[in-house]
């Protein structure tokens, strides 16, 4: 049986489409989706979803989520992570390798991939480590990980400090068509820091992380990328100057892409005034002008993607004084509603935003995205843009609650998520 999604506003950046259409997804292995004029497909023999008044988007692609399995299943596992992802309209998730043990060899890549497949929800893609054990000392088994299915390389929340090693990583990864994702933050400038080095950190008595810690790291990595000609992806850009660095590098032809974490698009450091540990993020929330520059970078395409940077932490890591808490916030379910807030505020138009949530991140993965990010792949997200919902213990599907938006009402709700032509999420009572 195939699936017919009728009469929704279909936004598909891959084809430049934005209009009311029917979408027909064949429920076969290829799961190709066809876009048709509204009402032109007879509903017989199809499972029908009425999307009148709703938006039909390609399934979202998230470049960065910490899914914690193996090793920290008390925070999240691949099933709960994938469950939260599809409830958030995300159909492709790149799992970060900072697990215990870290994903630094083919066997663990294979484990994560199979567990993801078995869950049968979102497509779990695997980021392999750049360096063995994420220790920054020697290269991880990059070839082996690629053969096992790794789609990108990343050392999680650690920067490869050794410039020589980073150079070799870029060179070697390019032999396998892999992009190197960098968590650009020089620890010698950020050490002990807890919040953006600005008035709020001064006021709260928290050691600052200056944005220059990010900018010096990006500068080095851009220089290495330009020198080696290899592909670099800068994860969660957070400062205005960093956006500008990447803008210039792109103009010069450096093969660089970057993403912004969703919380940096909607929050600034001023929110920290109550020492809410769910706002302890890495990189830290920065100032209003940084947020403005991030949005501008997203609009003009300097920033290719919005990532959730989903980082579940349990009460053991978060119910602590701010300086003892671990960084990170969960975001899989909030990613789309938070982004839609930017559309409502007229900071970005819907098609551009959708591109940064689908085609943009898929482009970072290149061929390894397996066609994700376009409607034609048969991954769909159907969202009711006006529906409001409370982010609360009952509605959160992650194992953790570390979100600054817990208790807040969000606007824009995923009604249905389709992966490879199969409905994997349908809102209760929808």
């Amino acid at each position: 049986m195939s699936l017919l999604v009728r009469n929704g506003r279909v936004v598909d950046p891959a084809t430049g489409l934005d209009g009311v259409r029917d979408v027909l997804v064949e429920n076969v292995a290829s799961s190709a989706a066809r876009i048709e004029a509204p009402g032109s497909v007879k509903p017989e023999n199809h499972e029908v979803i009425d999307a009148t008044g709703m938006w039909v988007l390609p399934g979202l692609v998230d470049l960065r989520a910490h899914l914690r399995e193996p090793g920290q299943e008390y925070k999240e596992d691949l099933v709960t992570g994938a469950t939260a992802a599809v409830a958030g309209g995300i159909t492709t998730v790149v799992a970060q390798p900072d697990t215990k043990p870290p994903v630094d060899n083919g066997e663990i890549v294979d484990f994560v991939r199979r567990r993801g497949e078995a869950a049968g929800l979102a497509k779990i893609l695997v980021a392999g480590a750049i360096t063995a054990g994420l220790k920054g000392e020697q290269l991880a088994f990059i070839g082996e990980m690629r053969r096992a299915g790794a789609v990108i390389l990343s050392d999680g929340d650690t920067w490869v400090r050794d410039a020589g090693l980073m150079r070799r990583a870029l060179e070697y990864a390019s032999d396998f068509g892999l992009t190197v994702m960098t968590h650009a933050e020089d620890p010698t400038l950020a050490r002990g820091g807890l919040a953006h080095e600005g008035p709020m950190a001064v006021r709260l008595g928290l050691r600052g992380i200056p944005s220059v810690a990010e900018e010096t790291a990006i500068a080095r990595d851009l220089a290495l990328a330009a020198y080696t000609g290899a592909k670099l992806h800068v994860a969660h850009v957070s400062s205005a100057e960093a956006v500008e660095q990447i803008r210039i590098a792109k103009k010069r032809g450096t093969k660089v892409t970057c993403d912004v974490a969703v919380h940096h698009l909607v929050l600034i450091d001023e929110a920290l005034s109550t020492y809410d540990t769910s706002l302890r993020l890495s990189p830290p929330l920065r100032r209003s002008r940084d947020r403005d520059a991030l949005i501008a970078g997203l609009v003009d395409g300097t920033i290719d993607a919005v990532a959730s940077d989903h980082a579940p932490q349990s009460v053991l890591e978060k119910d602590l004084p701010f300086i003892e808490a671990e960084p990170g916030a969960i975001a899989l379910q909030q990613l789309l509603p938070l982004c839609l807030g930017l559309v409502a505020d007229k900071r970005i138009d819907l098609p551009t935003l959708v591109a940064r949530l689908t085609l943009g991140p898929a482009g970072v993965l290149g061929a390894y995205a397996q066609g994700a990010g376009a409607l034609a792949a048969g991954d769909l997200t159907i969202v009711d843009p006006d529906s409001e919902w409370l982010l609360a213990r009952e509605t959160l599907l992650s194992k953790c609650m570390n979100s600054p938006f817990v208790g807040r009402t969000l606007r824009g709700r995923v009604e249905c998520t389709v992966v490879r032509g199969r409905v994997v999420y349908k809102r209760q009572n929808a």
Partner: protein
Amino acid sequence: MIAGKHLLGMRGMSASTIHHILDAAEGFRGISRRTIKKVPSLRGRTVLSVFYEASTRTRVSFELATKRLSADSVNIASSGSSAEKGETLLDTAKNLDAMQCDAIILRHSASGAPHYIADRVAARVINAGDGQHEHPTQSLLDLLTMRQCFGKLEGLEVAICGDIAHSRVARSNLIALKEVGARVRVAGPRTLVPAELAETYGCEVLPSIAQAVDGAHVVMALRLQKERMTAGLLPSLREYAIEFGINARVLARARPEAILMHPGPVNRGVELSSDVVDGPRSVILDQVENGVAVRAAVLYLVLGGEAA
């Protein structure tokens, strides 16, 4: 009104509240000087002092204040963070609460720790210094000392000198002094003065200690922690003393009636030369005496309401 509330910091405290607390503190100064240094105001109340950081004068000062009010005081001293001891601060807080105490006086190395505790206990929490954030009772005793010396706070020129970046005393005073209408200038090595200080507090940041002291009513030096050297923020104590220390020559630039303050303990020969510590302008011991009165006033005002 601070009755029944936590005292977490000077932020948000109005000038009139500050003056009311100082007025009450004046009332307590007389009690310290009589033979029976005790009033029955808080008889039967229990006050827990929980100090996760070494402190002599603040702890003793709070303990004396508690005893002067006839409350029962229990001291818990603990070095290192709660986490190091294998107990989370949350568990500590819940345990303290289970002991049915009326107030918890908390000193902790983590900025925001008292706020964290305050959200999780029934007792009133009084911040006795949290990390690099705030030290409200120190600020109140500083203001009391200034008010006694000049009869007012409004219009005073106050120079705060030294390690501003790591100082909770500086932060509380920057907030409180602005609120009561004093003007603050700060100076110190650039590695110890946050770039955003002026923007954050509306104070004036001057390029040298001498310029900050120039014409000031109040010169407040801050303690320089020795670990600033190992953190690479300063080359040596000796160099600090020469370039940023306050001696008689520097102090002479202040007003003739100027006072010298320091939250203690003083590193003699580092941030202050020994002669100015003991000199005629020094009110450092008055600060200590006022500390007991201010803390008694705070405890009385927080716990003494009839609803409590």
